[in-house]
Structures are given as structure tokens and as C-alpha cells.
């Protein structure tokens, strides 16, 4: 029974990201069509569908593609995913802080850069405090 549930969970995980890509593609198409931009709708949906297809077709041949599709219960793959996510977020935070200072130097309103930098910094501090107590 638990094995069957495990297989179902694994199948759900395998199709979750491609499914989300299809939903995102449909979302792009709907938004662009609502703004009377049919070419952008086709391109947006096409890119997301192509990405979903690449994940489905090549995930058995390439570990990197398999990791983009699902991380699964494998501890090394989970570590790779966590490190990649951390690197991505560091890059985004560095960009956000740089753009915040650029906007301030111009004498302009920092706008979204200020919000992203502030929220990012706050979440990082709270996460450090939480994780240091938990582990």
C-alpha cells in the first residue's frame, strides 16, 4: 500500500514541473491574447511548451535535465538543487541591491528594487535565526 502511494507520489513529482510549464504557457497565451497580442501569445506559450517537452524527452538522458524536472528523494540531487537555488537567490539579491543604489544615486525612487532588497534581507535574517535554532 505504502509502496503504491510512493509510486503515485513519484509519478506526481515527475509530471508536476512539466504540468506547471503547460499551465504557465496557457497563462502567457491568455494574458497576451487579452491584450490583443496574438504573436506574443504564440511565442510565450510555445517557449513554455518547448521547455516542458525538453524536460520530458531528455530527463532520462541528462541528470541536469532530470534535476530541472524533479529533485526526488536522492540526497545528492536535493543538495544540488538547494545549492543552485541559493546561488540563484544570491545573484538576484546582489542585482537588487546594486539597482537599489543605482536608483538612489540617480535621485530616483528605488521602487521595486527597494522592496525586493528589503524583503530579501528580512527573510534572510529570519531564516538564519530560525535555522540556527532548529539545527
Amino acid at each position: 500500500m505504502s509502496t503504491m502511494r510512493g509510486h503515485e507520489a513519484a509519478r506526481t513529482r515527475r509530471w508536476l514541473v512539466p504540468g506547471l510549464c503547460v499551465v504557465a504557457g496557457a497563462g502567457y497565451a491568455a494574458v497576451f491574447l487579452a491584450h490583443h497580442r496574438p504573436i506574443a501569445a504564440v511565442i510565450g506559450a510555445g517557449v513554455m511548451l518547448a521547455y516542458a517537452l525538453v524536460l520530458v524527452i531528455f530527463s532520462r538522458r541528462s541528470e541536469a535535465v532530470a534535476l530541472l524536472r524533479e529533485d526526488g528523494p536522492d540526497e545528492r540531487r536535493a543538495l544540488i538543487t538547494t545549492r543552485a537555488a541559493a546561488t540563484t537567490l544570491y545573484a538576484l539579491m546582489v542585482l537588487s541591491v546594486i539597482m537599489l543604489f543605482v536608483q538612489l544615486a540617480r535621485g530616483a525612487d528605488p521602487g521595486a528594487w527597494g522592496v525586493v532588497s528589503g524583503v530579501g534581507g528580512f527573510v534572510f535574517i529570519v531564516s538564519i535565526a530560525y535555522e540556527s535554532r532548529r539545527r
Partner: protein
């Protein structure tokens, strides 16, 4: 960290895929462990050692260990 996983696996006549399935990890993870690119967690190291009927110390060797 050095280890004897490749030799122990070969002695059992197992492929990396088969060992990975038995331990609940991917073939690539077994390959990474054998090549010393990835040090497994303590629970996985214990599972591997038990699978081969050895202790963790008999399978995994720290680099400064003198034998």
C-alpha cells in the same frame, strides 16, 4: 573521502543502477560516491555499509587515515 564502494559493488556483481535502486538513490549518485566527488550523509553511509555487511569505517576512509 576515499571508499571501497566500487570494489564491494563489483564483488556482488551489481551495476551502479542496481545498487542505486537498492539504496534509494540515483545511478549518478553512486558514481559520484565511487569517484569521491560526493560524500554521502551518515544515514546513507550506514545503509551502504549494512548493505555490504560491513561497518562504515570498513567502507569509507578519511583521507588522513594511515592504514
Amino acid at each position: 573521502m576515499r571508499n571501497d564502494v566500487r570494489e564491494l559493488r563489483a564483488a556482488k556483481g551489481l551495476s551502479q543502477q542496481a545498487l542505486g535502486q537498492a539504496l534509494g538513490v540515483s545511478r549518478q549518485t553512486i558514481n559520484a560516491i565511487e569517484q569521491g566527488r560526493y560524500d554521502p550523509s551518515l544515514p546513507l553511509a550506514i545503509r551502504m555499509a549494512r548493505y555490504f555487511g560491513r561497518t562504515v569505517e570498513e567502507v569509507f576512509h578519511v583521507d588522513d587515515e594511515r592504514s
